[in-house]
Symmetry: C2
Subunit: 295 residues, 2 copies
C-alpha cells in the first residue's frame, strides 16, 4: 500500500463504498447508560471502541475531536490514545480533529505528539490545523505529515454560523480571506501530491456553505476536502456534492452526533451499536446515491 | 481579592514589580542533566516545579505551552497538570498557551478542560485562543472565563516571521485582517471590563512588530496584551514599550527560552535554578527601567 495519505484515503473510500468519516465527539451525558457507570475516561474509551467496531467496514475514517477528550484531562487523553489504537487496529484511518496552530517550534511539538509511530496511540493519519498564524507555522506540520505518510486538513471555510465574520471578509485584491487561505494551502500542498493526484495537504470546508464549496473546489483542485457539518449541523447530500471533483472523489464527509448518538432516536430494543452502524450505513448509501446521481 | 482576571493580573504585576510572564516551553534535550535521568513526564514536571519556585516572587505569571507537554502524550499532560498546580500553589497566575479554537460546542469542551476549578490542575487563570473560526466560537471561551474569573488572550498579531501572510492582508474597507480581529476582540471584551478598566478578554500581540503594536494599542485600549517574542525571538525592551498604555499598564511580557534555559549560557558553577531566577529578575528590572524611562 502506498505510504501517501491521499492514496491511502482514496483506497479506504473505495473499499468501504463511500467517503464516510465518523466524528467521535463523545460527551458523557449522552453515552449509552450501560457505559456511564464507569469513569469518564473509561466510558469514552469503551464508547470509542464500540463505535469503531460498529462502523469499521462502512466508514473510511474516524475523526476524534480532541476537545471532547481533553475536557477530562489526563484520563480523557488516555481514552483518546486507546481510541486511536482501536481505530488503527480496525483498519480505519484516524483524523485527529485538533485544530492546532502555533509558532513553528511549538507546531513541531504538536506534530510530534499527534503524528507518526512515536505519537500518542501510534499516531493519527491526519490532523486538522488552523491557519491564522501564517503558512510558516503550517510547515512543521506538513513536514511531519510527509515524513510519516500522514495528512493535514487546514481550516479554510468552517461550518459554524459565525464563520463569515472573518473568513468571508473581502480583501483589497478581491479575494475573500478564506480564498487567500485556500491559495496558501494550494502552495503548501503542491510539494506532496500522491499517485491519486491529491495532495497530502487538504482543507476543511464546511457542508453548510455549498456555494462557497463549489468556488473553493475549483480553487483547490488537488486538495481533499474534509467536510464537517453533515447531519446534526444541517448539511445534507445536496450540500456536500459541490465538495467533490467531477470524478466523484476528493471529499471526506464527516458526521458526528447524528451517527454516534443515533440510538437516541431509535427504539430501546435496538442496541446502541446497531443504531450507530445503521446510521453510518445509511449515510454511506445516501452519499453513494447522491454521487451517482450527481456525477 | 477581586475575582476579575485583569484585576488579579494588575495586582500580581504590582506585587512582583513588573509585568513578567515566564513561558514554560520545556524540551527534554535542553533540561538540566540532573533532571534528564527521569522519564520525560517526570522531568517536565520537576523542571516546571523548579522554575516556578525560582521565579515565584519575580514573575506575575507563567505560561505553559501545551504543545511541549502534549508531545509526550498522557505523561506529558500529567506534567502539565502538576505544573498548573505548582504555579497556583506558588501564587503565580497561569496562562495556558493552548491557542485553541473550534466550533462552539467543542470550544465549550476545551474551555471546560482548561478553565475553572474542575479543569486540569485546578484550572488556568487564562487561555490563549485562535480567532479564525469567527467570534461565535470565542463566546464559549469567554463565557467560561467570565464564570471562573479567568481571562482569554485572542491571537491578533503573532510574533512568527510569516505572520504577515494572513494577518496583514489588506481588506477592502482599509483595515488589515489583524485589525478586523482586533475589533472583534474589543466587541467580545466590552462585556467584561474589571475595576482596573481592563477587560478579561485580552489579545496576543507579538514583540517583533513594534509599529503594529502601537496601532493595535490604540485600537484595543482596554485589552491586556500578552506579548510573546521577548528574548529568544528577538524582541527587546524598546520593542515592547508600544504594547503598554500611557499609564505603564496593559501588557504582560513573555519570555520563554531566554529565561527557562538561561543556565545554558552560565558557568556550570551556577545552579540552574539560580540562573533562571537571575534571568527573570534581569528581565523584570529591564522592563521596569524601560517603563520608567518611557513613561
Amino acid at each position: 500500500m502506498s505510504e501517501h495519505f491521499a492514496d491511502r484515503l482514496m483506497a479506504a473510500v473505495e473499499r468501504t463504498g463511500g467517503p464516510v468519516c465518523v466524528g467521535l465527539d463523545p460527551v458523557v451525558e449522552r453515552l449509552p447508560a450501560e457505559l456511564r457507570e464507569a469513569s469518564a475516561g473509561e466510558a469514552l474509551a469503551a464508547f470509542g471502541q464500540g463505535v469503531i467496531e460498529s462502523v469499521a467496514d462502512v466508514a473510511a475514517a474516524v475523526k476524534p475531536q480532541l476537545a471532547c477528550y481533553e475536557r477530562h484531562g489526563v484520563a480523557g487523553l488516555a481514552a483518546y490514545e486507546a481510541t486511536v489504537r482501536a481505530a488503527r487496529e480496525a483498519g480505519l484511518l484516524v483524523v485527529a480533529d485538533a485544530k492546532r496552530g502555533d509558532i513553528g517550534i511549538s507546531a513541531g511539538h504538536y506534530a510530534a505528539g499527534l503524528l507518526g509511530p512515536d505519537a500518542i496511540g501510534g499516531g493519527a493519519d491526519a490532523l486538522t490545523v488552523s491557519p491564522y498564524l501564517g503558512p510558516d507555522t503550517l510547515e512543521p506540520f506538513a513536514d511531519a505529515a510527509v515524513a510519516h505518510g500522514a495528512g493535514l486538513f487546514v481550516l479554510v471555510r468552517t461550518s459554524n454560523p459565525g464563520s463569515d465574520a472573518l473568513q468571508r471578509l473581502r480583501l483589497e485584491d478581491g479575494r475573500e480571506v478564506c480564498e487567500a487561505v485556500a491559495d496558501q494551502v494550494v502552495e503548501l500542498g503542491d510539494r506532496c501530491v500522491g499517485d491519486s493526484v491529491y495532495s497530502a495537504i487538504g482543507a476543511v470546508v464546511g457542508a453548510t456553505h455549498p456555494e462557497d464549496a463549489a468556488r473553493l473546489r475549483r480553487r483547490m483542485p488537488r486538495q481533499v476536502f474534509l467536510v464537517p457539518g453533515y447531519g446534526a449541523q444541517g448539511g445534507g447530500v445536496a450540500d456536500v456534492l459541490p465538495c467533490f471533483n467531477d470524478d466523484g472523489r476528493g471529499a471526506l464527509i464527516t458526521a458526528s452526533r447524528s451517527v454516534i448518538f443515533a440510538y437516541e432516536k431509535r427504539d430501546a430494543s435496538v442496541g446502541w451499536r446497531d443504531a450507530v452502524r445503521d446510521a453510518a450505513t445509511a449515510m454511506r448509501d445516501e452519499l453513494a446515491l447522491g454521487l451517482r446521481a450527481g456525477g
